[in-house]
Subunit: 196 residues, 2 copies
DNA sequence: GTCTGAGCTGGACGTAGTGTCCAGCGCGTG
DNA sequence: CACGCGCTGGACACTACGTCCAGCTCAGAC
């Protein structure tokens, strides 16, 4: 308690008022302390840690993050740290609500209400290629700077999306990836050769 | 131009730097002016408004909002206003990227990682053909009883769904319709000949 | 600097799939 | 019965696909 208290308080302070930190004593199955409480629990309550048995802790002694729902409907994201010598369990419960609301607000502001009325895909697959390449661009930087690994990854995605089943797809993909048609087939062969 | 310019400029200024406003002359199919340009178009370029024909304008003369993807991967949300007397078309293209990034940031921060499945359509089009033919069968009776009109109708549906843009589609459609490949092309030619 | 290999390129080439054409055939109609 | 419409299977030219290869560039090793 004296050992871990400041760490818990620090986490709680950092994420206040959206996170609650609970320190448990697994030996006594009792709550040692709660910082910034909003789930109704208090020091001295039973821990009810049994539910954690289902989860496998990672090599670093961390469980989760995993989702939780409070009785009042609030959604939480939680992580649990297993502490040793002395044994303790630290749970951080983050109220996801405000973040989800903000994300929804931003999405609603900038996203079209009707993404795709009819999945007619003649003209659509063109956008699909641009879409896949585009999201990869956002994730990995400009196309010109890509290496073989990036191209392989994007091609794999396009291939498993079935893009190459449509006519004239290969040249278009080559254009979007800014490589030659030959290279597209070369990478594709490499991809499918290793897969099977 | 003198009439609508200030309105376009106002919209561009409000959303700057994330929105581009393009004023078109539909009669000449030419771009009259661009405020805050980022799509590379400039005054005097051809409008290429043909793509808008597919969309039905609302009662208020507004098309969209609808999604768009630039070649460099940026995602846009666009709305188009049809202006009368004098005729003009105003397009507002909002760069959705920053908003999506912010939303993704918030989501990633508070949400447990959740992989996103890509909708694949390779095997889908096969079912699509069977689906269209199947619903037509339910509506018009067994395939063997169909006359030219029925086949034309179903073919039109499949064609406008873009099925024939995918490889090996024609033989498969012929099989589903229980006609020869030649007939498929014959009917298709008839269909497209009358349309234009 | 030179060497070397990995990776991309443009072009050539064989093949699969596409789209057109036509003689032939069944079938309903005048 | 002759006629014509619509479908058929086959032939054909052509496009697009997928493979192959010599040559180029470039980065890293020596």
């Amino acid at each position: 308690m004296e050992r871990y208290g400041p760490a818990c308080a620090a986490v709680a302070a950092l994420l206040s008022p959206h996170a609650e930190v609970v320190l448990h004593d697994p030996a006594e199955d009792v709550v040692l302390a709660v910082w910034n409480p909003f789930s109704g629990r208090a020091a001295g309550d039973p821990s009810l840690l049994g539910e954690l048995d289902e989860l496998e802790p990672g090599a670093d002694g961390v469980l989760g993050p995993y989702p939780k729902v409070l009785a009042d409907g609030r959604t939480l994201t939680s992580v649990t740290a297993l502490l040793r010598e002395p044994d303790a369990v630290m749970c951080v419960n983050l109220d996801r609500g405000p973040f989800e609301q903000a994300a929804a607000l931003l999405s609603a502001f900038a996203a079209p209400a009707r993404p795709r009325p009819e999945p007619l895909f003649e003209h659509d697959w063109f956008d699909r290629v641009n879409g896949v390449v585009g999201s990869a661009v956002r994730q990995r930087g400009p196309v010109q700077r890509w290496g073989k690994a990036e191209r392989l990854a994007v091609l794999s995605e396009l291939d498993s999306a079935g893009v190459f089943a449509v006519r004239r797809a290969a040249p278009e993909v080559a254009r979007a990836l800014q490589v030659s048609r030959s290279t597209v087939y070369a990478l594709l062969a490499e991809l499918r050769g290793e897969k099977s």
